[in-house]
């Protein structure tokens, strides 16, 4: 595995401007100029954010040199969603297993006799 794509996605998402850019792109493709408009930011500054998003595979850019419209790419976001959904499922499933495990330990303790201290 080279440069773990999920890490790239997380790094790209950990910036409010880039999240806002992605949010704008959920409404459809846009040019750098259109994307710069809502931010008090120069074209080159926005382009820098776009390069990070592009590297993370979160957007693709058109070929036309002048306009190069940016388009949102869903797949990496879906991976992130699946990853944390996994995190939650991890703990839910683990804690369910712990409920059962604690029950077994309690029973074992009772059958081992009262008053006996755990080591």
């Amino acid at each position: 595995m080279s440069a773990d794509p999920l890490s790239l996605t997380f790094a790209a998402l950990a910036d409010p401007t880039r999240r806002a850019i992605l949010a704008r792109l959920t409404d459809g493709a846009a040019t750098v100029k259109e994307l710069s408009a809502p931010f008090a930011m120069s074209g080159p500054a926005v382009s820098k954010h776009l390069r990070v998003l592009e590297r993370a595979g979160l957007i693709t850019r058109g070929r036309e040199a002048q306009w190069r419209p940016c388009r949102l790419e869903a797949a990496p976001l879906k991976d992130v969603a699946e990853w944390t959904d996994g995190y939650r499922r991890f703990w839910d499933a683990s804690y369910e297993r712990l409920d059962e495990y604690l029950r077994q330990l309690n029973e074992k303790e009772e059958s081992d006799g009262h008053g006996k201290q755990r080591g």
Partner: protein, 162 residues
């Protein structure tokens, strides 16, 4: 609501800008819940996530500064590693440790607090991220609102930020 969680229900909250917290009630005394979180032979029995995973490596050096390292393995062979170090150990109520999934991930500071009431134990596990941005990146992936996270919801969330 005055009452805490009922047994068998995990609640996710955000106590501050940089934190995510999980709360859950167990029908067992606190000393036992502490034990199953701090002894390798217990942890490897339950901290396994969904079906299909085992924990072949569970190393615990339970002292301040001591390291811990867990490795999970899936039946088809893929592995997942998590490690960190213990910072504060107050049996049977408080355990503070660092946690990292690897160099690319932000190291978090995790605090486990156990309280007992009428034979039941309330577990509270708080994860502190290095920045609000790192926390939000984790959050916006859907830990907060629970139900299964879909891309649609993520897209809605991104839209709500604009």
């Amino acid at each position: 609501m005055a009452t805490a969680n009922s047994v068998g229900e995990t609640t996710f909250t955000t106590p501050s800008d940089r934190e995510i917290a999980m709360t859950r009630v167990f029908d067992a005394p606190r000393a036992l819940v502490w034990e199953v979180h701090t002894k390798a032979e217990h942890l490897s029995q339950w901290m396994l996530g969904p079906e299909g995973w085992t924990m072949p490596v569970c190393e615990i050096d339970l002292r301040p500064g001591g390291a811990w390292r867990f490795v999970w393995r899936r039946s088809e062979g893929s592995e997942m590693e998590m490690k960190g170090a213990y910072q504060e150990i107050v049996p049977p109520e408080r355990l503070v440790s660092t946690e990292s999934w690897g160099e690319d991930w932000p190291e978090t500071l995790n605090t486990l607090v156990l309280s007992e009431d009428d034979g039941r134990t309330t577990l509270s596990s708080t994860v502190l991220y290095p920045s609000k941005e790192a926390r939000d990146a984790a959050l916006e992936t859907g830990m907060k609102d629970g139900a299964s996270v879909s891309f649609d919801r993520l897209a809605d969330y991104l839209r709500s930020l604009s």
